[in-house]
């Protein structure tokens, strides 16, 4: 499903965020990405949906080298990949409902589909009563859950989640992890960057650990450290 072939990402100012990373992730896998702050987790995730381009190496998603993708095809790649960003990236001038609906509008879903799916997914993340609020009217954790809802509402093949529980209390986190687990069981590949030792240790899934841009550990049924 996803393959990184000797990928290096150097930001301006010679910051090596990822160094010679080679990884293969199969369909329906659930992968934790761990490592200290600044070790390259977000970079790893942003390379997969072409938000960033690698400085060297090749990346394959669903068998295609995304480095060869012409720029007008990138939106279509992204529609198959739901992403929960670390800073949520919600549209400030749209309500919660419109934010989630936007991911469906973009792919041209008919209105009646949008009108049934959006409330359903919002209920699932516990925000059924906030559909009409704007993002700045939500608490941090609520915004994070909107972001999760939007990433998943069009049932993507791949779900990238960058610290999706960073702003959530332990109880809510457990709920979200159960949701991700359920999504994963339906066949979606899930890659999740996290700092939450408790979650990683409890779930016991594949763990890839980064340190200063290098993959220092890749362990099946691993723990946080």
């Amino acid at each position: 499903m996803i393959k990184l072939d000797n990928v290096t990402k150097v930001y301006k100012g010679d910051v090596v965020a990822l160094r010679n990373a080679s990884v293969e992730i199969a369909k329906s896998e659930f992968v934790f990405l761990v490592g200290p702050s600044g070790s390259g987790k977000s970079t790893f995730i942003r390379l997969l949906n072409k938000d960033q381009t690698p400085s060297a190496g090749r990346i394959f998603v669903a068998g295609k080298d995304i480095g060869e993708l012409s720029s007008w095809k990138v939106p279509y790649l992204r529609r198959n990949i739901g992403t929960v960003y670390q800073d949520f990236k919600l549209l400030a001038n749209k309500t919660v409902g419109e934010n989630v609906a936007f991911a469906l509008e973009v792919i041209g879903r008919p209105r009646h589909v949008i009108q049934t799916q959006v409330p359903a997914i919002l209920d699932l993340v516990g925000l059924g009563n906030k559909a009409g609020n704007f993002p700045h009217e939500l608490s941090g954790g609520e915004q994070q859950r909107v972001s999760i809802a939007r990433a998943f509402v069009n049932r993507p093949l791949i779900l990238l989640a960058d610290e999706p529980t960073g702003n959530l209390d332990p109880a809510t986190s457990v709920g979200i992890m159960q949701l991700l687990d359920k999504i994963n069981k339906t066949g979606t590949t899930v890659i999740m960057a996290t700092h939450d030792r408790g979650i990683v240790d409890r779930m016991r899934r594949r763990v890839i650990e980064l340190d200063r841009g290098e993959i220092v550990r890749d362990q099946v049924r691993g723990v946080y450290e």
Partner: protein, 298 residues
Amino acid sequence: MAIKVDYVVRETSTNLFRNLSITLASILTVMVSLFLLGMALTVNLGVNKATQRWQGGIEFIVFINPGATTEQVGAVDKALRESPEVEKLTYVDQNQAMEEFRSLFANQPELIDTVTPDILPPSYRVVPLNKSSDTVEALSEQYRGKPGVKSVVSATETIKLVQKLSGTLTVFMYVVAGVLLGASILLVLNTIRMAMYARRREIEVMKLVGATNWFIRVPFMTEGLVQGVIGAGLAIGLLVLFRPFYERIVPDPTQFPLFSGMVPASSELFGIYVVLAFIGCVIGTIGAGVAVTRFLDV
């Protein structure tokens, strides 16, 4: 991918209203520049019509009596043609005179109906070699009173001045209108660019969620088009409102008969309006087009 119409309408109107004041500013500038252009075109049309007999250096006109005999006409014709002081001579027959009359009084159809070509005098338009007023006067005097000649009319100081002033004036108005047109394209462009800049994070997010460039662009482009069209519409409206006022400030035709042609007819004005509307669309489209292209390609 088909972009839904209701999506575009919704986004465009949201944007227009969100930045109402800047939208108004750019609509206003489009309006002013098109209004000026319209005025320049109108004045130009009027002056050209009013002075059309006098264009190309014609200094005096010999009107022939419609009832003159062929011999009489032949004599005048010969005298003019053989005069060494005449540089160029144009004969306007009764049908051409009727044409001219028609265009001069296009705004007074009731007048046109009362006139038939056979009552209008044919005429010789004379461009003399030497244009100093004394020699022109002397030359034209030679034909006054000749048999078959109805009258001889010279270009007055006034006519020449009007031609010169209005020429200068319309050039000036064209230049100002041109500068303002440039400014309005720039302004529409900037309104859209600022709108996109103000929403740059949103746009970035839309792209990350999988929106195509066109999906993002189209509402902004419609926004520019709407600004251009509304600006043009307002300019046309102003011109229509302004018309009675314009007709009033044109010097009183009974006092200055020359100006009777300066009030343009509705059909002529309609042509001007169409041109303005077209330019409005072009301004909006170019402005917005450049804005979205430059912004999204970065």
